[in-house]
Symmetry: C2
Subunit: 440 residues, 2 copies
């Protein structure tokens, strides 16, 4: 997968054309797409709308398979079927088997469940008398749903944590850096598959292969949070020998629930991956995750996975073209003042993510976006709606100098983003920056 700019100057950068575009072609809701009359949403890494097929599946399931899947009533049987179909669809997307899938309430729960499992598993497999605490390895650019769990464990003196820094040359952790961090009490390595802000894809496959090739590390559990990767790049547990993988519906046009892949099958070298529930209750999800199944959302997640299985190549190609067009247009306007954060020769980015800074004294990302008329993008992960200005710690960890990181804006393209949308956004940014320049 190449990250190069493929299409340049496809269209002239014309302010007038763009303005006309805005006024003459009001946007309307179509195909679950969204948007009010004037807005272009380029924040698909924060969340996506539901695909229209997913919406229909949810709606149908809520109406027709509303029974309790544990009940033998007719509506219950329908519901159990819907859950089984979805489990199949989720597993197929990542080339797993249905038994490997546990439905959860979302990515936060999936990540917490994995880390909890590693902690408990270590405690169960090590005598209480030994003072040894479990040791976790992660990167310094993880989502808070990994980072803050581990920080909590540290605060509670339950675990040790090594945060392997990403290289400033690649935006990714170095495989050797991860291996060097391994200690005798390492219980889990958790590295995200792609970063949400820069889009940089991490070498999870190589890390897993290297760890798995060393028999002395066979007890180390491997996890990847694939929240941002799914629906944008191929994610298969056949080529990615992890024990756990986090799936988050609303990042790929699915609903606000998630799933956890865990390797339920044994290999000659390895037992199946353990899974220690966080909740106890009515026995659903084989006791790994009790609670009456959210059937409608589960069916919707299945459908969203099915769409990815079927269409990933097209989605990725489309987003890559759009992103290339966007970046080349910006380059043509701002030249060397444009910094593409997270673009490194030696690493790959998600095809839809463009984190850019435009150099300038008064061009903080939040200020530029505030001055935009119709562009909806973000200055970092949506979860951090910080009230005061701050520089993204992900970008500084990636080696972006602070004054560049301060100006960063994250644009993330969707399946139905168009060239017109990009033109509109470019025009909008240019106009916003002109306005800021004029006032400063």
């Amino acid at each position: 997968m190449s990250d190069e700019v493929k299409e340049v100057e496809k269209r002239p950068l014309s302010g007038e054309a763009c303005e006309t575009n805005i006024t003459k072609k009001p946007r309307t809701e179509t195909n679950g797409k969204l948007n009010d009359n004037r807005c272009v949403y380029l924040d698909y890494n924060a969340t996506t709308p539901l695909d229209v097929e997913v919406l229909h599946t949810i709606s149908n399931t809520l109406q027709h398979a509303w029974g309790n899947p544990s009940s033998k009533s007719k509506p219950g049987i329908e519901a159990a079927k819907a859950v089984a179909v979805a489990r199949q669809q989720v597993s197929e997307m990542i080339q797993a088997i249905p038994n490997d899938i546990v439905f959860t309430s979302g990515g936060t729960e999936s990540n917490n469940l994995v880390l909890h499992t590693a902690l408990k598993h270590f405690q169960k497999t090590h005598p209480e008398s030994s003072d040894m605490k479990p040791h976790f390895i992660t990167s310094n650019i993880e989502h808070d749903a990994v980072k803050l769990v581990l920080e909590h464990y540290k605060e509670e003196y339950e675990a040790e944590v090594t945060y392997v820094p990403v290289s400033h040359n690649t935006g990714a952790v170095e495989v050797q850096g991860v291996l060097d961090a391994i200690k005798s009490n390492t219980c889990l390595i958790s590295i995200m598959l792609a970063n949400n802000e820069t889009g940089v894809i991490q070498p999870v496959q190589e890390i897993c292969e290297r760890v798995r090739s060393l028999p002395q590390y066979s007890s180390i559990l491997l996890h990847t949070d694939a929240a941002q990767a799914i629906g944008k790049i191929e994610v298969s547990v056949r080529s990615l020998p992890v024990d756990y993988l986090t799936i988050v519906g609303h990042k790929f046009y699915g609903p606000r629930i998630g799933a956890l892949y865990f390797r339920s099958s044994k290999t000659p070298e390895q037992a199946s991956a353990p899974l220690y529930p966080m909740f106890f209750g009515g026995g659903q999800e084989r006791n790994y995750r009790p609670g009456t199944e959210n059937t409608g959302m589960i069916a919707g997640l299945g459908k969203a996975c099915y769409l990815v299985t079927k269409n990933l190549e097209n989605y990725a190609k489309h987003m890559r073209e759009l992103r290339s067009y966007f970046e080349s247009k910006l380059r043509s306007v701002y030249g060397e003042r444009l910094h593409i954060n997270g673009k490194f020769t030696e690493s790959e980015r998600l095809p839809n993510t463009s984190n850019v800074s435009i150099e300038g004294m008064h061009l903080k990302g939040s200020d530029v976006l505030r001055n935009c008329q119709c562009t909806q993008a973000s200055v970092g992960a949506a979860c951090h709606s910080a009230t005061k200005f701050c520089v993204s710690s992900i970008l500084t960890a990636t080696g972006i100098p602070e004054h560049i990181a301060a100006n960063a804006m994250r644009f993330s393209m969707g399946r139905e983003t168009t060239m017109d949308d990009i033109d509109t956004v470019i025009f909008d940014i240019v106009k916003a920056i002109k306005a800021i320049d004029a006032h400063s």
Copy 2:
């Protein structure tokens, strides 16, 4: 609230009439009601269909407020508004304030979160050096989402648990029994508001009032799982001075998520109720329950609560009439052979729940229901889809003799259950029992 049979012999028990009814008036889906052509669903304690207004709210929200509520984009702002409206609606239903409400993935999570909180709070407020473990008080008829959590704590040597038995004269715990169980290390009393199988309403209000009247017990936290009560009887935290209350959408025509009430405001006598998160992540729900909000379902839960606030009296009256009609019809056929499990002079039942046994050697509840042509009911909580026959432990705990408990069937009426439905079911049961009798 009286539990007496109010309407008797409103209609003749006519097999022919009923059969005609089945064939001439095929049931169709209306108003989120359900049902295939011949089936009558009387298992509303297991789950309910979505109210049509709830369904519309979910559908609208999924389409129009799909943004990330933490994001400042337009769709994000819409989503945050939808969540705020829902929080208001949920809080109004139980006469709480919006700040008291935390959205969760369901009742299992809400219950687990409360028990986890009590455990952690005890640990935080007692020196590690003291060997004292927290002590929990609960009943012996709780849902598995309370019972199994406490059993897990016991297995892990993290807590002591007292299971206060329900009285065989009332089907409810005795207030004095609960008070007598209090020890110096009691951290939480968790008693369900109404039992899911018998419908017996527990004296939670009196327990809370008694505990709160005794200053030496001010540190004891009070929880009630109101899963089965909401939408059937009035539930208000003004008259029910608990610290925590579990709300489960799908038990009252809402979606498969839940909420937790926790007393966020201080009183002169008491600090606000503590809440220790089980998950860590992106800061949503004021860090009590991080994870991108399931906006559509949350909005649906809000609407379901709004409907309860508005219509509870009518819902309850309707269900009570239907239940009385059902039981009096059964009585007219089976006389003294009919046992109404959970009906006690001195306690009240949920208005919709009828747990009955018909005496007879071969009339096990599961066998009778299997022989029914069109009746969908259950022999216990839907969560326990036991593969082999077993007697409900709830019923035996309630003092129902084993041979009666073995024959138990739980019929639970819904908002749109009709007299015709009841006639159909009575006819069906009578026919099923005749068929069993003929073959035995």
